[in-house]
Symmetry: C2
Subunit: 250 residues, 2 copies
């Protein structure tokens, strides 16, 4: 994640993407090589389901613009949001490419993606080992974020879970570009999404948001998140931005 801002950011060949996670640190010749692999840019409206749990997927994606929600569904409709993917994130990389994918992905906003055919991606890895190493690091970073999330789910009360989520989103968005603290950060999440991410009910999320608001800690209203008292939030969650550090260029 958190690509270092630089004077002359590398471009993703097929897409007009800057500082994309998988490509940003690559040398020019490798970028050129990627042009030869079937890459496609795709744009989809909010609500579109990119892929569905248990289906077979022969593509993966780099998110260029917008938010995508990755989630898993249990038989009776219970839902767990696994990750909110932001621009630069990679989606659809599977441990077993021949097996079904284990989660679904849905666009929360208008979304722009780079699409890779699976065999094409494999081929790229073979030809450009650095890409494979980058992929290992990206996946490892996602795993660390999942660990944060697990710790929230298992060991934090509702108020802390929400505080932690807010700080995480704020930090991840801040790493992607400057954000206007005063105006508030645009967050396209319904209370239901937050509930499904944090293992709560919508109703309880609502009450907890009220508590945070009335405590002067943070306000989420009409799609805008305002952090009112960061020190207090950081204090209550023990938030460390280390989890989102940048990876080495190798």
């Amino acid at each position: 994640m958190a690509p270092t801002p630089r004077a002359n950011p590398t471009q993703c060949v097929a897409c007009p993407v800057r500082r994309l996670a998988l490509f940003q640190p690559l040398a020019g010749d490798q970028l050129q090589a990627m042009q030869t692999h079937r890459m496609e840019q795709r744009e989809i409206p909010p609500g579109t389901v990119l892929y569905t749990q248990d289906s077979h997927l022969d593509e993966s994606f780099t998110l260029f613009q917008g938010w995508v929600m990755l989630y898993r569904t249990l038989g009776d409709g219970r839902r767990q949001v696994l990750r909110f993917a932001l621009p630069g994130d990679f989606l659809g990389f599977q441990p077993d490419p021949t097996g079904p994918i284990l989660h679904s992905a849905q666009a929360l906003t208008p979304v722009a993606l780079c699409v890779f055919k699976r065999d094409s991606l494999m081929q790229m890895f073979r030809e450009h080992p650095l890409l494979a190493i980058q992929m290992a690091w990206i996946t490892s970073r996602d795993e660390a974020t999942a660990h944060d999330h697990m710790t929230s789910l298992g060991r934090r009360p509702a108020k802390e879970r929400i505080a932690q989520l807010f700080l995480e989103l704020h930090h991840r968005l801040g790493a992607r570009g400057p954000i206007d603290e005063r105006a508030g950060i645009p967050i396209p999440l319904k209370q239901e999404h937050i509930a499904d991410a944090l293992g709560l009910t919508t109703i309880h999320v609502n009450r907890t948001l009220r508590a945070l608001r009335e405590g002067g800690l943070a306000v989420l209203r009409s799609g805008l998140l305002k952090i009112m008292n960061r020190p207090a939030l950081t204090e209550m969650t023990g938030f460390q931005s280390d989890s989102f550090s940048r990876r080495p260029l190798l």
Copy 2:
């Protein structure tokens, strides 16, 4: 994980390890090359802390024998177990090798490991790209397991969480060698470990174990797990072993 049993399993050079996750699918010359990199076998007694959250780690490990618990601790002592590592699993791979590690690791049993110095591992990746690709898949599989775990934590009641854990452990152990259903599977976990993995208290784990026992579903006693009614357990969790599929040889 789940390496296919084969007639003549590859050996991990320095260690007398068979079917190790990172090496199993490698060709002979690559294995040889690894000999030239600083690898070390290490054995540690139960309870040993391999590494500690927030410390700087310049090694990573392939687990050869025994169980290792990966966990995170919050300021006030709350603990979340992230993963129970079994033989063949890889530990200590970090998204940012220069940053502090974000969790701790402790041996639950006597443990044997292959140790890699960090720069040595990096060097191996550069020289043998297939290793990097394998690493990406291994990490991706771990992430999928973390997703299972998250779903339990967020959206399942205590009984289902424990049932799911039992089925997962049974399946992962089964993939590593034949297990004697009747005798029961050796599980070196205290109720406290289970509680910290599943976001419950020890006391509630105890009560729930009793419920499972009295319901004729599964019994965990004196370190032995017996699955008494797998269909019922599978039914209540919707357990799919897909999550633990083997990865491609590329």
